[in-house]
Every structure is written in C-alpha cells, then in structure tokens.
Symmetry: C2
Subunit: 254 residues, 2 copies
C-alpha cells in the first residue's frame, strides 16, 4: 500500500542568467550577474549563483598571449607533432605535476590541487591568440562575487566558480566546483542512518559539484550564458572548493 507522505522535499530550479556581454579584464562581473538576475526575477536568500570559470578568469586578467610565450624543451616534447609547444609551455607553468600525457594531450595537477586536462588552460571562448588560465584562487573569487552580490541585491547567496572536467573511465565532461563561497561543498552523511537503521556507506556527497553540473545543463558553452541560479538546494554553509580535492593520504589514485 502506498504511504502518501506529506511533500517535504523542495523542487530545485536552474535559471539561466542571460544577456551578459563578452567580458574583459576589470569588468564588473558581479554587477553583470546582478543585472541578469534582476531580469530573471531577482536573487533570493539561499540561491546559489554558478559562474563559469572562464568569465571569472577573464575579468581577473588571467589571460596570456600565445605569441609572448617561449616554449621549453619539455613543452616541445609534450606537444608532439600536433600540438602547439607554446600552449604546452603555458600548461606546464600552471602545473605542479603531469599526471598523464599522450601528445598533445596532458592531464596535470594544478597549483590548486585540481587534476584536469591541460591544467585548466583553454583556448575556446578566448580572444584570438590568447589562452585563458584558471583563477589564482577560485575560493577567493567566489567570496568576492558573493560579497558584491550581497551588497548589490541584499540577498545572501552562495557562489560557485565552475569548470568542465573530464573523468577517468568515463566519457565526456561534467562541470565541477573550483571555488565555493557561502555553501557547503560536501554534504556529510557520516554517522547518519538510512530508513532501515544502517549507517550509510557513502559518507560524503559532493553537492557543490552536483550543483555545478546542474548549472551546466543551462550554461551551454556555445550559447553565451556564463552563469545560472540554482535555487532550492538548501546548502548554506562555509565550504571551500579546495575541500573537494582529495587529500593525498586518502587518494588511491595518486
């Protein structure tokens, strides 16, 4: 027999932030986000604003001109016959460790601890002849945006700076959280019990990564929507994106 429960779980919605123009160094990204959110009905307490890393990097000036780069011998090796040694040089400068390579493809660990393709260095959606790098401190970027959005809108929201990462063993990318402010990065189930009273095996859910992935469903890289509001998740907290990086001593894949 069906036990009809009282509806208790709120729906989640993902609202695209449209009409944001192409961004350049020192542009007021928080102001653009606030205006776009206002056009979409306004920010609310507990909303999470997810912003594509590339938008953040551009306003922070994390852009290099390829023509200015002198490639090292190692960069030439990693580029192979098909790659641009100058692009590989930029990737190496952003990396603390090359995890895997098959020229010209490189999977590297960034200074932040993220393991991703090309150390996050990307030529797509970048001005001609340039490469966009990851923000120096994505958590700080998220915190600054959050503070500005609070000042502009009066709404205490969470902010995620997101990027598309590949995954070992699985095809395709999913968006994940690089920087986090005002929300929990992980939902901790340790010690909680299921309906049958068992302690749950899965101890932590990477809720910030799931929110970033949900936002990607509307971001659509080629359509000029660099941000979205994710509403209804109830994850207020003071997490950091670097909590999502597995500590070396727990990492079976290091």
């Amino acid at each position: 027999m069906n036990q009809h429960k009282v509806a208790s779980v709120r729906p989640v919605s993902v609202v695209p932030l449209e009409g944001i123009p192409e961004l350049h160094e020192a542009d007021d990204l928080a102001g653009e986000l606030h205006e776009a959110a206002t056009r979409a009905g306004g920010l609310q307490l507990g909303d999470v604003v997810v912003v594509a890393q590339k938008a953040v990097s551009k306003v922070e000036g994390r852009v290099v001109r390829v023509a200015d780069i002198e490639p090292s011998e190692r960069a030439r090796e990693l580029a192979g016959a098909d790659g641009d040694p100058r692009q590989l040089e930029v990737i190496l400068r952003e990396s603390v460790r090359v995890v895997r390579s098959r020229p010209p493809l490189v999977i590297a660990e960034t200074r932040h601890g993220f393991v991703c393709a090309s150390a996050g260095v990307d030529a797509s959606n970048a001005p001609e002849g340039t490469l966009v790098l990851l923000p120096l401190d994505p958590d700080a970027s998220a915190r600054r945006l959050r503070e500005r959005l609070l000042a502009l809108s009066g709404a205490d929201v969470g902010v995620i700076v997101s990027d598309s990462f590949g995954r070992p063993w699985r095809q395709g990318t999913t968006d994940v959280a690089l920087g986090v402010a005002g929300i929990a990065a992980l939902r901790d189930l340790r010690g909680s019990r299921d309906a049958a009273g068992h302690v749950l095996r899965t101890t932590q859910i990477a809720v910030a990564d799931e929110i970033a992935g949900a936002a990607e469903l509307v971001l659509g890289k080629a359509s000029g929507v660099p941000a979205a509001i994710v509403r209804g998740v109830d994850v207020r907290g003071d997490g950091r994106g670097d909590e999502l990086v597995m500590p070396p001593e727990r990492d079976l894949f290091r």
Copy 2:
C-alpha cells in the same frame, strides 16, 4: 553596454517523486513512479525520470543474502581485518578487475565496464543481512521503465538509472547515469564553434551524468525519495549508459 538578448534558454527544474513505498522484488516500479509523478502534476513530453539504482535493483531481485555466501581466499585477503569477507566475495563476483584496493576498500570494474567502489555492491538502504547489486543491464532496465511510463502516462519521457560514484582526486560522490533510455547520454560539441569562431576544445558533455547529479540534489539518500523528474533539458535521443564508459583505447587511466 549590455546587449539584452531575448531569453532563449529554458530553466531546468528537478521535482522529487515522493510517497514511493519501500520496494521489493517484482513490485511495479513504473506504476509507483507514474503515481508519484501524477501526484507531482504529471509527466510531460521530454521529461527525464531519474531513478536510483537501488530501487531498480530491488524490484529486479538483484539482492543477495550475506549468510549464503562462502568467501574465497582472495575475498579474505581483500577484506583485511576490518571487512566482511562475504561482502568482498560478492564484490569479486560482480567484478572483472580490481582496480585499486586498500582493505576493506575495493575499487573494481564491473561486468558493465563501470569503475566504482565495491563494484556497486551496497548494504545501505538494503534489508537486514542483504547486499544490493547493480542491475544486470541498466540500459535495459531504463528502456523497460520508459516503455511502461509511456503506456501508463502517454508521455514520451527519458529515463536514467543513477548511482553515486566516487571520483579519483576529488572528495565525495556525485550521482552518474548507469542506464539511459530516450535521451542522449552525451551532448556532442565536436566541430561546433564558440562565439569567437574557435572550434571548441571540450568535445563531449556527459549530460546524462549531469542530469543524474541534478536529480541527486533532491533524492537525498536518507529521506526516502528514490526518483525525480528533471524537466527542461531538451536531450531527447537514443543514447545508452554504456556510451559513458570510456573505451579502453582512449583511456589514459587504464
């Protein structure tokens, strides 16, 4: 200056399917999903119904009693001092390859090609003394649910059978798609260009995994919501969950 575009990107919503009772072998899962969806306002053309793997496995009888299992020597080794050798034996029987182990933790490749903790074998939210295994063919499970939902509701929906997977280098789990029906598993950007005319670097987005992760935001393991509707993604197609498994020849982490 702001270039106000006409709003073109639909919001996405994630609606929990509540009031579904504890499930057992041969229960009518599609009927329960249909009733819960009707209570939530009904299914619509293009909706994606995301169902937790455990609900699917239970109605398919993919449950074993731990007391019936005789552990092998290898299972005893992998269990170490803290694990249950019978549980490890079940994991080994579900595996084609142990990828990493640190007793009693095992990361294994399943017969489907999924690389995940415990080959997907799980004691949480399972009846006392039992373990729940992954469905034998999650794509077939998704297709059957989709056909039944079409017959019951008249709505042509997509179906995803989801599970929580860990990821190398990142903390916490995110839900991913094991089985897929009626939607594209991957959104292919190969050959498409960004606003500046560059061919995009990221070639495929694992949209089914992002939809599964979005659904997890309302599924909440401990709260008895085994399914959700994800609405507004526009991913109709004929993808399969096994497309999300990286082919060995492209896998840098094999």
